[in-house]
């Protein structure tokens, strides 16, 4: 087990929906040696890459939060409800556990508020500011200036339905 993996997902052609990808790209530029993966969505193929990591951080846009929020990701009890077209962070963690027998010690979902998700590649100013905040949080984590536990305490958890 070593290191932190950062996975940013979203559709960069739907404005703020690409916030997770944008944040991950910035992190990759700032930390050239960091283990950063980007994509439109999570895929089972990503499981192997994170199976040997100590911490994994998922970055994604969200319309259910108004501030950058951090949630702990735990694997679900069973495979029910998951499909290959829409792999969720907890579903991916389940794959990691089942296929490789070891999972990251900590998995965090960092949600970045999205306000404008129409067609286009330019994100809204509000979401861009949130991307800055997200990158700062993850950068502190990568530099060892904070821990997942502290992030979970400091960043608000979005309200669930």
């Amino acid at each position: 087990m070593s290191g932190t993996a950062v996975i940013g997902t979203g559709n960069t052609l739907r404005r703020d929906d690409g916030a997770g990808v944008e944040a991950a790209r910035r992190i990759a530029r700032a930390f050239p040696g960091a283990h950063v993966i980007t994509g439109h969505g999570l895929q089972p193929e990503m499981a192997e890459a994170i199976s040997s990591c100590d911490v994994v951080v998922f970055l994604d846009a969200s319309v259910r939060t108004s501030a950058v929020s951090v949630t702990r990701v735990a694997p679900p009890d069973g495979p029910a409800g998951h499909n290959v077209h829409a792999v969720t962070p907890d579903g991916l963690m389940a794959i990691v556990e089942q296929l490789y027998g070891s999972a990251p010690r900590e998995a965090l979902l960092v949600e970045i508020p999205a306000f404008e998700c129409g067609f286009g590649e330019r994100m809204s100013e509000r979401t861009l500011r949130m991307v800055d905040s997200c990158v700062q949080l993850v950068a502190e984590l990568l530099r060892g200036e904070t821990t997942p536990e502290i992030l979970l305490c400091l960043a608000p958890t979005p309200a669930h339905d």
């Binding site: 193929e45 069973g78 495979p79 077209h85 089942q98 296929l99």
Partner: protein
Amino acid sequence: MTTTAKTITISPVTRIEGHAKITIHLDAGGNVADARFHVNEFRGFEKFCEGRLMWEMGGITSRICGICPTSHLITSAKAGDDILAVAIPETAEKLRRLITLAQWIQSHALSFFHLSSPDFLLGFDSDPATRNIFGLIARDKDFARRGIRLRKFGQEIIEVLGSRRIHTPWAVAGGVREPFGTAQRDRLLAWIPEAKATAQIALATLAGIHEKFARDIPNYGNFRSLFVGLVAPDGALEYYDGALRVMDGSGNIIADKVDIHRYGELFGEAAEPWSYLKFPYYRPLGYPKGMYRVGPLARLNICDYIDTPLAEKERVAFKAIAGSAGTVNNSFYYHYARLIELLFAVEKAEVLLHDPAMLGSSIRARAMINRPAGIGASEAPRGTLFHQYAVDENGVLTAVNLIIATAQNNLAMNRTVQQLAAQYIDGNTITEGILNRIESGIRCFDPCLSCSTHAAGQMPLHVQLLDTAGRVISEVAR
């Protein structure tokens, strides 16, 4: 005895790429009178591409789909080559061939391991909540892990060549943007032994599936049709270039060495009011008699041989299924043909990776607009893909026509649904297992509706039994 006509609706069809529904129409006696595979999404790429520059088409059309963007990219680049009137450098062609094989590997692995094998290994009647790749992981970790890694190998080739796994803009009219290096080559070569072994394990697993489902298989779209695809000049299995061959359902070649520029003479497109997916047909036989199939089953039927040893050995076994019929006409054997192609793609990728020409530095021919129109064709995982563009003197598109593999299988998919429905639906009992068998008939073709019309995502299965007045008689949802 049932005395009222009914319609059974399966909406959406699951574990395919895109959205669709199936309606099964029962007569007053409860017998299947008709069955239709409806594609109810529309995106209209052909129209909104008009007015864009020809050079942009690789990037635009690869956005049609997240599964086979590379096929659109390559076919678009080939249409661009035609407009420029250039012969691309040898290195560029070989690199394009490699990425086309990578597309086959990742897509065929997805189709078998992620989408179809859960039916076969977990059972048609197993809990639909776990009848997926996750359930497969729980049942056989090694098999699932191998499938995931094989797909990853295909994705990795695409990423190495194109800098990203999907929607890469790497191929352009005249060639490709970036060359290939020895470090990249060695990284990919390291995958070959495992990939080859996994393809062979999949074939062995499928052989067991053939035995297990021996009673079901004869009902899976078992009918004569034409088969269409590209073949190499010497008749070998082709995936990137070649000429069109048309074979009838008895193994007779009825058109051969047809230049792709003549595809419009051979194939027409019909439309039905109940689907956005067009119904291509072979013109000389008219609609709908000119039904034809494309993709792995067609390619394995029409080619004379495969130029890699392990896949060729499997092709011979595949052709033995045809016996005196001349062609393998049962759609279930799409799976077998797909896995043979998967093995071929790995073997062929190995050959290419050892080819010194892959490391050349001449990768792009540059030219101005030299023709007012161009056509590109290649074998996408699901079948022959055509891109036809017309441009003005500046390269601005004035017309776009995309003939997608899934659409070309439309008539055959409908026929398959009809056959399965007639076999399993008795008008009174509709079980989850029966519905899944009908869906799995569609999955034989591995349709990509995102490409052919287009949609994304997945919703729960919803089935309704309606009487002639539209009243819901019974309902099943998951």
